[in-house]
């Protein structure tokens, strides 16, 4: 079996985002999706710190400390971009104006519950950012994560053991092994992306039953 690497995962997510979509890419792995959006497809990226129309990272030496994304990385603004304050930015999110958000995850449950902000460790310093708003607000919540934890456990679970970010909010999951839809009757496999991985093998690596479904 050959798993997708991070770049392949980002490209696979990018492929599903249509022309004209308004999209928020979460901090970390999801940010990588921006680099793989198909050329010529106009997609408008939002960041919760008050900007629509994010462009590529600026060339070295041309960073502007006043122009950053939610991950506090320097970005640029495309022609047609705009700035707004935090309440307006989250009005866009909470008011269901974003077509997609792409979030990382620790765990996703069979019901689409998302856990991505807290490991539940009693001594951990919690931090939530905009994840809970994105989870309830975006029209389509896409999760992008490795299929397994570092010690080989499935991140797809019957019930999240980590504290929830949002309940029943995830629509589609992209892992390094597969693309999986969350439906009212459980998880449906859209596509196996890892090379030389059978459905039965994927099922064994997954903590919840998967069903076949024709790709959307």
């Amino acid at each position: 079996m050959k798993k997708f690497d991070r770049k392949q995962m980002a490209a696979r997510v990018a492929q599903d985002i249509p022309e004209g979509a308004y999209v928020n890419l979460g901090i970390g792995l999801p940010t990588l999706v921006a680099d793989y959006l198909p050329k010529g497809r106009e997609i408008i990226l939002h960041s919760e710190n008050g900007v629509l129309g994010i462009g590529p990272r600026p060339p070295e030496g041309e960073e502007d400390e006043d122009l950053i994304n939610a991950g506090k990385e320097p970005v640029t603004l495309l022609a047609g971009g705009s700035y707004f304050h935090h309440a307006d930015s989250f009005a866009m999110i909470r008011g269901r104006h974003l077509d997609y958000c792409v979030l990382g995850a620790f765990q996703v449950s069979a019901a689409g519950d998302l856990a991505n902000w807290h490991t539940g460790a009693p001594d951990a310093i919690p931090a939530v950012g905009g994840a809970m708003d994105l989870a309830v607000g975006a029209k389509q919540v896409l999760v992008m994560m490795e299929h397994l934890t570092k010690d080989g456990k499935s991140k797809l679970v019957e019930r999240c053991s980590y504290p929830l970010t949002g309940a029943r909010c995830v629509n589609r999951i992209y892992t390094d092994l597969a693309v999986i839809d969350v439906t009212p009757d459980g998880l449906h496999l859209v596509e196996i992306v890892a090379e030389d991985l059978s459905f039965d093998e994927l099922q064994k690596l997954s903590g919840v039953p998967l069903r076949y479904r024709a790709a959307a």
Partner: protein, 221 residues
């Protein structure tokens, strides 16, 4: 390529169904989308619920839509005017339902719809007839009334300039209800004085980002 600029009001309004809830911007004449209202009259949709500050003046614009018998219900703050005769007549005849809303509550209910707020407590109208039957609560020494968002199927708006992404700027007090209505409707249609190339609107001064706008029509000059 994203292009929200439509060629004609007919095309931009073709799918408005009977029974739709339609927000219309403007405070008096300032910011009233006359071209789009005329387009809606020509289009023929009826049994509409309209959200506007007023209930029409004289014989044009919203007053003409009301006069044509297309409006079933209106949510507004100040229907009674010296020249609101179309409204007055149908209202007195019991053919037009009125939900009278204090102006700030109207604005906040529209904003709440756009911002995904399920309900909010406002001090406005507490203890008055306009709060009768509504849930109230005493919070931190003050009395409040619970109010719910107003969502719309369409918003018909007037702005000053737009680009093909639907970013908008306004002119003076013609801004009024348009930015919040843009956020509260499933389909926001905007008539503008001028369309400009992408990047011509200063990103610091875009008042309505294009995410809230679906269709743009340039007014004939």
């Amino acid at each position: 390529m994203i292009n929200k600029i439509f060629a004609t009001p007919e095309a931009a309004l073709a799918d408005v169904p009977d029974g739709a809830t339609v927000m219309i911007s403007g405070f008096g004449g300032a910011g009233m989308p006359a071209l789009l209202i005329d387009g809606l009259i020509a289009q023929g949709a009826t049994n509409l619920t309209v959200v506007n500050n007023n209930a029409g003046n004289a014989d044009s614009g919203l007053a003409a839509l009301i006069g044509a018998g297309r409006v079933r219900k209106i949510l507004c703050t100040f229907p009674r005017q010296a020249d609101s005769w179309h409204f007055d007549k149908l209202y007195r005849a019991g053919k037009l339902e009125l939900e009278l809303v204090p102006q700030g509550t109207l604005a906040e209910r529209i904003r709440a719809a756009g911002a995904g707020i399920g309900a909010f407590f406002t001090p406005t109208a507490f203890g008055t007839r306009l709060a009768e039957g509504k849930e109230t609560r005493h919070i931190n020494g003050r009395d409040y009334v619970l109010e719910y968002p107003i969502h719309a199927d369409y918003a018909l708006l007037k702005a000053d300039r737009a680009d093909r992404w639907g970013n908008l700027s306004y002119r003076k007090t013609a801004r009024n209800f348009a930015p919040i209505m843009a956020s509260a409707a499933k389909c926001t249609v905007v008539q503008v004085r001028e369309t400009v190339a992408l990047g011509e609107l200063d990103p610091e001064t875009v008042v309505t980002p294009g995410i809230f706008v679906q269709r743009v029509i340039k007014s004939p000059s």
